[in-house]
């Protein structure tokens, strides 16, 4: 049993396992690229095929490429996006749904979380890295779920590729936004933006007050999110500039605790801003409301109360340490 347990823990920790998942994504994206390139009816198929081909190379070969080559590929990807090479489409409701959909449609969708939590649980039991286990489980679940869907729905492998391609292209370059923003955070750190922000905010916040610093951090997250309409963008900037240097580092607080509160403080900003149009303005048209701000009018009250709850929860935890 212990042998088996340590085997699982070691397998999860091996970098090659995660690299295999990235190689699989690379192959998948190349499959999309070939499929797009072969679609003769499609106007402007070459830039789109090139986009997914480059992204596939970054995923499959990323660990082998010199860093500056990978950087150049990222710039090329963004260049194709800027030139309008990858069309972004609004997601159409999935067509051709069978008249009486059975519960079988849930199987593949539920396979993914089942595998994620199963592998994370195994990792926990075997004393391995649980977070890593969850990530490996997500990848394994994705692969397993295709098998489940093929068996349950009687599809061909080709249909799986087509379905994945449609879903991936629907969202298009937006898929990469979180990853790009995390990279931007690192670039900002390397350029010293964090220290600059920390100095500026540190001049206002009273020294030695963890709660004061946390208020500045949560406020920064909410305001920047409201401005940019995106909590992920705010997170990479405000956390490296305020959250880490002023809240986590000087007081030795748990980084995970402070960071997740920071992210949800940003979500309070998302609830209160017309800049998050997908969430706050799109429903107005969708539900046929007369007042364009009907949704925000409701949400900002809860967001304000919830933002305060962030400060309260943080204070309770810090004071009872």
């Amino acid at each position: 049993m212990t042998d088996g347990a340590s085997f699982i823990a070691r397998a999860i920790a091996r970098p090659a396992v995660l690299e295999a998942a990235f190689a699989l994504i690379g192959a998948l994206l190349w499959g999309y690229a070939i499929q797009i390139a072969c679609d003769r009816r499609r106007a402007g198929r070459w830039p789109a095929a090139g986009y997914w081909l480059l992204l596939g190379a970054l995923f499959g070969l990323g660990a082998q490429l010199p860093h500056w080559v990978a950087g150049l590929l990222v710039v090329a990807l963004v260049g194709i996006e800027a030139a309008g090479g990858v069309r972004m489409q609004a997601t159409p409701p999935p067509s051709s749904a069978p008249p009486a959909p059975g519960l079988r449609a849930l199987w593949p969708a539920l396979t993914i979380p089942a595998a994620t939590f199963a592998v994370a649980g195994l990792a926990a039991l075997s004393g391995g890295d649980v977070g890593r286990g969850a990530v490996i489980g997500l990848a394994a679940g994705g692969v397993l779920a295709v098998g489940v869907a093929l068996a349950a729905g009687g599809f061909s492998g080709r249909a799986a590729l087509a379905a994945g391609c449609r879903l991936t292209e629907d969202i298009g370059p937006l898929h990469l936004l979180p990853q790009l923003l995390a990279s931007l955070g690192l670039l900002f750190t390397a350029a010293g933006v964090g220290r600059l922000l920390a100095d500026a905010v540190g001049g206002i916040v009273p020294r030695g007050s963890a709660i004061g610093a946390a208020i500045a951090y949560f406020l920064g997250m909410a305001l920047f999110t409201a401005l940019a309409g995106n909590a992920f963008a705010a997170f990479s900037v405000i956390t490296t500039g305020v959250g880490i240097p002023l809240v986590i580092a000087p007081f030795g607080l748990d980084p995970a605790f402070v960071a997740i509160l920071g992210l949800t403080a940003g979500s309070c900003g998302t609830l209160s801003t017309p800049m998050a149009a997908n969430f706050n303005l799109l429903p107005v048209g969708l539900y046929g409301l007369a007042d364009p701000y009907a949704v925000i009018r409701l949400q900002w009250r809860l967001a304000a109360a919830l933002w305060l709850a962030h400060v309260v929860v943080f204070s309770l935890v810090v004071l009872h340490r």
Binding site: L18, I25, F59, P66, H67, A70, G71, V78, E81, P94, S96, A97, P98, G102, A105, W107, P108, A109, P113, G131, A134, V135, G137, L138, G142, L150, A152, A159, A163, G164, R166, L167, T168, P173, P178, Q179, L180, S183, L187, A191, G192, L196, A228, G229, N230, P255, A256, T264, S267, L282, P283, L286, Y287, G288, A294, V295, L298, L306, A309, V313
Partner: protein
């Protein structure tokens, strides 16, 4: 502090580019990249680094490759695509329709709880399109004792709010969600590695509090709409004030 053109604060121009670009809804990739280029360029980073100093392209490429895990869910899209062809949305909609309840507040809070559960399972679905509009909004309208266009609009706006509350805070409960992975990526890059499972556990208090606060808000909304129906028709100018 030297002359004005030597202020180190010029580096913050990249942050301005990021905020303005995303707010104006320019294409996201170019906005993020130009923000990085502006800031790194103003900070005097070389394009390709050497032994002494990291370069812009090196830093960007290294960060992008190290953060590939954030976009790992691309591997799940073929299966989700097939499930949608099998009628996933319709099945979920049917299950959602079983939230049979006469009270408006219970419909809303049930919807929010259902969306939190989906988020905890990592099911990324467009709630407004898939559930809010076709199922829950009509249910909310039907739960009104004395329907009127104004009251129906307020009930539907609350459906949209319930979707956003459930979606935003529920998705952090899934350890392999883009949000948790982004937080872990940024924290690791800054030298404070965090575990995604721990992140999802620490997200629980805010989920519970958001659900509680929403329950209060929805109960008050229901009381106000029912009271108004007993007295008079609210005018179109009435806001959602309590």
């Amino acid at each position: 502090m030297g002359a004005w053109w030597e202020w180190s604060a010029w580096k913050l121009l990249g942050v301005v580019v990021l905020a303005v670009g995303l707010a104006r809804r320019w294409p996201t990739g170019p906005v993020v990249l130009s923000a990085g280029l502006v800031t790194a360029g103003l900070a005097g980073m070389p394009l390709v680094g050497g032994e002494a100093r990291a370069g812009i392209l090196d830093t960007l490429g290294k960060a992008f490759v190290e953060n590939r895990v954030i976009t790992l869910y691309l591997l799940t899209l073929p299966a989700i695509g097939l499930a949608e062809r099998m009628g996933l949305q319709a099945v979920m909609a049917r299950l959602m329709g079983r939230l049979t309840s006469v009270s408006l507040a219970w419909v809303l809070i049930g919807f929010q709880a259902a969306r939190i559960a989906m988020g905890a399972l990592g099911l990324r679905l467009q709630g407004h399109v898939a559930f809010g509009r076709p199922i829950v909004a009509p249910m909310a309208g039907a739960a009104l004792r004395a329907p009127s266009p104004v009251r129906e609009a307020q009930a539907k706006a609350a459906v949209a709010a319930a979707e956003n509350y459930g979606n935003f805070f529920g998705q952090n409960l899934f350890p392999a969600s883009a949000g948790c992975l982004l937080v872990a990526g940024v924290m690791k890059g800054a030298g404070y590695p965090t575990d995604v499972v721990k992140l999802s556990l620490y997200a629980i208090p805010m989920v519970v509090i958001s659900l509680g606060l929403a329950a209060i808000q929805f109960a008050r909304l229901e009381r106000r709409l029912q009271r108004a129906s007993a007295q008079r028709e609210p005018t179109a100018g009435d806001r959602a004030d309590d």
